[in-house]
Amino acid sequence: MRIIGLLIVIAFGSLLRYGVFFFPEWGDPASPPSLHVSPHYIEEAIAETAVPNLVTAVLADYRGYDTMFETTVIFAAGLACFMLLRVLQRQVPECRLYRHIPTGITLRIEKGGKLPTESGSFERIDSNWVPHDLIIKSTSRFITPFLQIFALYVIAHGHHSPGGGFQGGVILGAAVIMYAISYDLRRSIQRIGEQATAVLGSAGVLIYAGTGALCMVLGAAFLDYGALAGLLGVDPVMARSHGMLIVEIGVGIAVSAVMVWIYYNLSSAGRHDEGL
């Protein structure tokens, strides 16, 4: 296998190496990609969409249709991980372990047994439980709000600076993932349940597709945000800018929810127990 692999790889590599001889020079301003389609984006985007970040303008407007499916791909991945890994047959485990948080004493409750009355001060743990590090816990508690605000900023400010729905959504999801790592998965699922992540994931993509469909209902082409001008009370160019903001928010919601969803399923192999 190793030798076959090496041969295939060398053949493939030398074929590509041969092709590189005939490429335009790297960074050449006169190469076709710099001359044919892109000048229109660079020169006209701000007049046509009022968005200075060209990448956002092209991403969410000129090629907004691609981006809708990009979000759908992520959503499909979330669904796929759920379908592949999630174990839903809940058999009652032989015994459950509960830890009394103030004292650190662990209770072992056999099948059918009930918890003592003060259940608020107990937490469910697994047999491979290890105490979580205080430093990590407090640091993550300190960082999380800033991370979330930064994520919102990235989503909202994608028109003017690098960023946008996707990056912001991942950061927002990462904040939850960090919480789930530094505390434990059960607690994170209590806050943001599996159902919430799944429904939010589809809702995010639905915001995107729905915006496009709304444009269609208003008589323009699918995703032609200019049609929203009357609804938003601005001129068509600003309507494009606002339309992009709406879909970026949809992307942000979908991506953050799905990232958390994938993490839940992957980190507990679908059992939704203590996780990492």
Partner: protein, 133 residues
């Protein structure tokens, strides 16, 4: 000839880097035995293609594709295409990165499932188990 070759390499070394990375990724996917290693190779292969696209966008003497003075509504200055890097490949590659992380998620989910089934991530051991059945 030698000088020409050297100047060719010097002006396109980035594309050569792409080729090398692709070879690394492809080699890992074909020849490695461990499933997680294959997944890493797959990701390297995909990022190499992303690097290729980003390289096609580069433009000497140009800046990042965010219009200056664009914050207060419509810019009044004339914008020259030569001043800004081509944004189109960047857009495409944002999509490709997303696709690669989606593929990664599904691949890892499948790998975890395979591990639960066979108790190993090595392909030859799995094949051996299947043959013994």
């Amino acid at each position: 000839m030698g000088v020409e070759l050297f100047s060719d390499i010097a002006s396109k070394y980035n594309y050569l880097g792409v080729v090398i990375l692709m070879m690394i990724g492809l080699y890992a996917m074909i020849a490695k035995n461990n499933l997680v290693k294959k997944i890493i190779g797959m990701n390297i292969f995909q990022t190499a293609i992303i690097l290729f696209y980003v390289s096609t966008a580069a433009k000497r003497g140009a800046t990042i594709p965010i219009i200056r003075h664009g914050h207060n509504g419509h810019g009044h200055e004339v914008i020259h295409a030569a001043e800004y890097i081509n944004p189109l490949p960047h857009v495409l590659m944002l999509t490709a990165i997303v696709v690669s992380v989606a593929t990664l998620g599904v691949a890892l989910a499948l790998a975890v499932k395979v591990y639960h089934q066979y108790g190993t991530l090595e392909e030859d051991e799995i094949r051996g188990q299947l043959r013994n059945k």
